[in-house]
């Protein structure tokens, strides 16, 4: 069976964050960015990434566009929409409060 993906429920946050820093990135780029930035601690499986991308696109957080690359091949790149920026804010603060809550538990017990 597959290894569990990046922490449950954080995939959206990671994708949104990466796209906010590096707009117009394609699927592979996003995957690579997660790996690099986390010093290879976090991994996103392709099997989860693409459905998530389409889902976020449907929700209107990101939009996609086909671009022509230097190699002549077409690639589909993603960027944040205004709704996506707002969502990123929500997810970030949700993560902050969740992780600080967990830290608190770890400290006090």
């Amino acid at each position: 069976m597959k290894k569990p993906d990046a922490l449950q429920g954080t995939l959206d946050l990671l994708v949104l964050k990466i796209l906010s820093r590096r707009p117009r990135t394609h699927g592979y780029g996003i995957m690579a960015a997660v790996k690099d930035c986390s010093d290879e601690l976090l991994r996103v499986e392709e099997g989860s990434l693409y459905p998530a991308l389409y889902r976020m696109e449907e929700a209107g957080w990101i939009r996609a566009e086909w671009i022509k690359k230097d190699t002549g091949r077409r690639a589909r790149v993603y960027e944040l929409t205004a709704a996506g920026k707002k969502q990123l804010g929500i997810e970030e603060s949700r993560w902050q409060s969740a992780s600080s809550a967990i830290n608190q538990v770890l400290r006090t017990v």
């Binding site: 592979y28 459905p51 696109e57 589909r76």
Partner: protein
């Protein structure tokens, strides 16, 4: 992603799949560029199975799943419909016919009976009428009042309601120039206040106002309807201020009322609106012509209003009856013992409505039954079809299709049938409804019904599709989807018996409705036959009727000279003059006193005629003599047999005397009975009197209008029409033909409604029979197919063909008989609803019940025949080998 782009995606699904695939490919290429192993990268996207699933889930997000499924279902359904071409065509055609008939009937009924008038406050509009029993015990109803009575009622209820005076819309002669250019238009007298009360706006000029309701005879203004302005004047903007003449009165056109108001009488388009004050009888208490419309104020309760109106009307009548000197007071009581009714009139008030309300409702019920038959039929076809498809369904269930999916798939298929049928039916209705309207008009009453095609009709159509789908589509879909895969895949139907029971039930229902339709149509056909074959007592063939006027009036001798002139036209056999033709609807009656006794309680009818009238009409003179040129009114009279029976105890009438008002008559002749005003009523007592009228001093009176009756020798009386039309003004200047028709037309006009009902009912019973035959055949052949193996075995062990035939058909024949019995019971129960429309036929007549029974039996045998042949030809060897 917007809903729109998802809908678009659903439609361009292939492209979407390609795009997803392309994105995956570009992902792999990227990975390879970064030094990953191509195979490993491909694997990272998932094994082929997962990859496809992933693609599918990606894909589903990007389309509307259900829409995509729907599209697939539609395509698949279309394929199915095409595969079963014959079944589909039969289903679509029978549904289309039935739905078309329903939509057509709805359009007619909506236009005539239900559609609110295009006025403000139509929902607060009511009409009043009076009901009473005559001394003979007949219930009569009237909705007309004399204007003075109306005006008292209007004042009495001023606080609760506004009463508007409206006359019937009549065809009148009028001219915009000289008398030579007389033409006809529909004229309606209305309260000036009506336009404002209805919130109507002028398209041009001004409409009538309340001030036009003040003084009798002094508001000579006319308002045109938009339609008439368009048709007659081509939108002439200069029309305001022009004048027209009706009779002796000159009217000034003040304006044009805006679309779409065409008067308050559905079926008749009013061309000209005149102020009620200009009606010739506006001051008379003894002439009823106002049809009051009651515009109830908000918050008024009807019952107190009705009582107030009733009391006022009665007080007026009591006052009026005091003036009656000649009549028996007791026999006049019934005039006062009336019930005043108040009924919603938002859809207007017209004679056409009264005459056709019931007939159309019954037609509506008949078409609804035909629709039920068609639905039962198609449901059966579908059910038999789904039996053939049970393997397919089972396979679908086995590979994981949910029941919901199957129902959706089948429903989509059925909905396509319904929608196709509705489209075809709409075309049919579009053509047939105007045809029916053209059938109910006769030459002198042009019916113009605006048949709309708008949201009302569309809404009805959509509702109809849903109803039909519910009736024929849901049950078979539910049944077909309820397959148990194991038994179906093993080759057997899961429960053929329950399926067959359902089909048999539907057959019984279908036969019951079919019986009812044929039974009703039999009653209507018989009614039409007995009316149209009723002995007339005169001969209508080759009889032309020319209504002639001379506005200033002429002496009777001049009229006689014109008759002589007409006699000299080649092809004319006989000519006579009468004040009106028989069966024209015109009636003149009064109480008479015989031999100096008190006035009778029964009214006698009168008709003014010239010498030679009975000969021209071919009514036998039974005793005495015809009129001579010297006979005059008052003076001599000829009476019919009913007159003798009613007033003279059946004794020889010659030489007897009677009195009508102040006029004394002596009977000089007796002629045979003939219908006077109406074919349906019993023959009335008639006194024929000379049209030569003299006053008390014996001076001949001027006559302004008479009817010439011309009997021609040729087979087509109308061939002489144009010659005769020209002869009259040539014979004498100032005389003019205002109407020309044949006596046969008048006879036919008496049976227009009956003919319409008979024709349409006969058509629908033909359709019903046809549908029943198709349905029976379908079910029979299905059941034989289901039992082929069983029959094969039976034959192999020695069953005879007759046994097999009986086996194959007995249960269905039983269903037919059950259906027929139910249908007969329904027919007998419903006959009293149509009684008023029947003539010369009783619903309880056993003959009327055997007809449909025989027809159904014949149809059942006919549709069973090919199936029996097929059952008997089963070759047990082939059959059993195949197993």
């Amino acid at each position: 992603m917007s809903l729109w782009s998802r809908i678009v995606n659903a439609v361009r699904s292939e492209q979407l799949s390609r795009e997803i695939a392309e994105e995956m490919e570009s992902h792999i290429a990227e990975a390879v560029e970064h030094g990953r192993d191509p195979d490993e990268a491909r694997r990272a996207l998932g094994r082929s199975y997962e990859q496809r699933q992933q693609r599918e889930s990606s894909y589903e997000i990007r389309t509307l799943g259900w829409l995509e499924l729907l599209r697939a279902d539609v395509l698949f359904g279309w394929k199915q419909l095409k595969r079963n071409k014959v079944t589909s065509i039969v289903a679509i055609l029978s549904l289309a016919l039935a739905m078309g008939a329903c939509i057509g009937a709805f359009r007619l009924m909506d236009a005539l009976l239900w559609r609110p008038l295009p006025v403000a406050n139509a929902e607060r509009l009511y009409a009043i009428s009076r009901e009473a029993f005559t001394p003979e015990g007949k219930l009569v109803r009237s909705d007309i009042w004399p204007y003075p009575s109306f005006s008292l009622m209007r004042d009495a209820v001023k606080d609760q309601a506004e009463l508007l005076a409206v006359s019937t819309a009549d065809r009148r002669d009028l001219t915009y120039g000289s008398d030579a250019e007389m033409e006809k238009a529909n004229v309606q007298y209305v309260s000036g206040a009506m336009f404002q009360a209805f919130g109507l706006k002028p398209a041009l000029g001004r409409l009538l106002v309340e001030d036009d309701d003040r003084t009798p005879g002094s508001h000579p203004y006319a308002v045109l309807s938009y339609d008439y302005w368009t048709q007659r004047f081509g939108h002439d903007p200069q029309i305001v201020g022009k004048t027209l003449r009706i009779g002796k009165d000159i009217y000034e056109i003040t304006g044009v009322v805006n679309e779409p108001f065409t008067g308050t009488e559905p079926g008749t388009m009013t061309d000209l609106f005149l102020p009620a004050m200009m009606h010739p009888a506006v001051t008379r208490s003894d002439v009823g012509w106002v049809r009051p419309l009651v515009l109830v104020k908000q918050g008024t309760t009807l019952e107190p209003l009705r009582q107030k109106l009733s009391a006022t009307s009665r007080a007026f009548d009591e006052e009026r009856i005091k003036g009656f000197s000649s009549a028996d007071k007791k026999s006049l009581r019934w005039i006062l013992d009336v019930t005043l009714l108040i009924q919603p009139a938002g859809a207007g008030v017209s004679n056409l409505q009264d005459e056709y309300r019931k007939a159309l409702s019954i037609l509506g019920v008949l078409v609804a039954m035909v629709l039920l038959i068609a639905c039962a039929n198609v449901a059966n076809l579908k059910m038999a079809q789904s039996a053939m498809r049970s393997r397919e369904m089972a396979l679908r269930v086995a590979i994981g299709a949910g029941r919901g999916r199957l129902v959706q798939m089948l429903l989509v298929e059925n909905a396509m049938l319904a929608v196709l049928a509705a489209g075809l039916g709409a075309l049919f209705a579009w053509q047939s409804a105007p045809l029916v309207v053209s059938m109910i008009q006769s030459s002198d009453t042009p019916v113009r019904l605006l048949l709309y095609t708008d949201w009302r009709v569309l809404g009805f159509g959509v509702a109809l599709v849903f109803c039909v789908l519910l009736l024929f589509g849901v049950l078979p879909a539910l049944r077909a989807s309820a397959v148990k895969p194991v038994s179906a895949l093993k080759g057997g139907d899961d429960d053929p018996n329950s399926r067959r029971r359902l089909m048999h039930g539907l057959i019984a229902a279908q036969v019951a409705f079919c019986f009812l339709v044929i039974f009703m149509s039999g009653l209507f056909v018989r009614t039409f036959e007995s009316l149209s074959h009723k002995p007339l007592g005169f001969s209508p063939e080759n009889l032309l009727l020319l209504d002639v006027v001379t506005p200033q009036g002429q002496l009777p001798v001049v009229w006689d000279q014109i008759a002589d002139k007409l006699r000299s036209v080649p092809g004319v056999e006989r000519v006579a003059i009468a004040s009106s033709p028989l069966l024209s609807g015109a009636a003149w009656n009064n109480f008479v006193s015989v031999g100096g006794a008190a006035p009778s309680s029964i009214a006698a009818y009168l008709l003014a005629i010239s010498p030679g009238w009975s000969e021209t009409m071919k009514i036998p003179l039974l005793d005495g003599r015809d009129f001579r040129s010297g006979d005059a009114t008052p003076g001599q009279a000829i009476v019919n047999q009913s007159f003798v029976k009613t007033f003279l105890d059946g004794k020889n009438p010659i030489g007897k005397t009677f009195q009508e008002e102040e006029n004394h008559f002596q009977v000089v002749g007796l002629i045979a009975d003939a219908p006077y005003g109406n074919l349906r009523d019993p023959i009335v007592p008639v006194a024929y009197i000379p049209f030569h009228e003299v006053n008390a001093q014996g001076v001949a009176q001027l006559e302004t209008q008479e009817t010439f009756l011309v009997r021609t020798s040729g087979s087509d009386p109308l061939a002489l029409a144009s010659v005769l039309r020209k002869t009259i003004p040539q014979a004498r200047a100032g005389f003019r033909v205002t109407d020309l028709r044949t006596q046969s037309d008048l006879v036919r006009a008496q049976t227009v409604r009956e003919r319409l009902l008979a024709m349409l009912a006969a058509f629908f019973s033909f359709v019903a029979l046809l549908l029943a035959a198709i349905g029976l055949y379908g079910v029979l052949s299905y059941s034989v197919q289901q039992r082929e193996r069983e029959f094969g075995i039976r034959i192999a062990v020695g069953a005879r063909v007759a046994d097999i035939a009986w086996q194959a058909t007995s249960r269905i024949l039983l269903m037919v008989m059950m259906g027929a019995v139910i249908g007969a019971a329904l027919g007998i129960a419903s006959v009293r609803y149509v009684e008023t429309l029947l003539y010369g036929v009783k619903g309880s007549d056993p003959l009327m019940l055997t007809g449909p029974a025989l027809a159904l039996l014949a149809i059942a045998l006919l549709s069973a025949l090919p199936v029996i042949v097929r059952a008997s030809r089963i070759d047990p060897k082939i059959m059993l080998r195949a197993e």
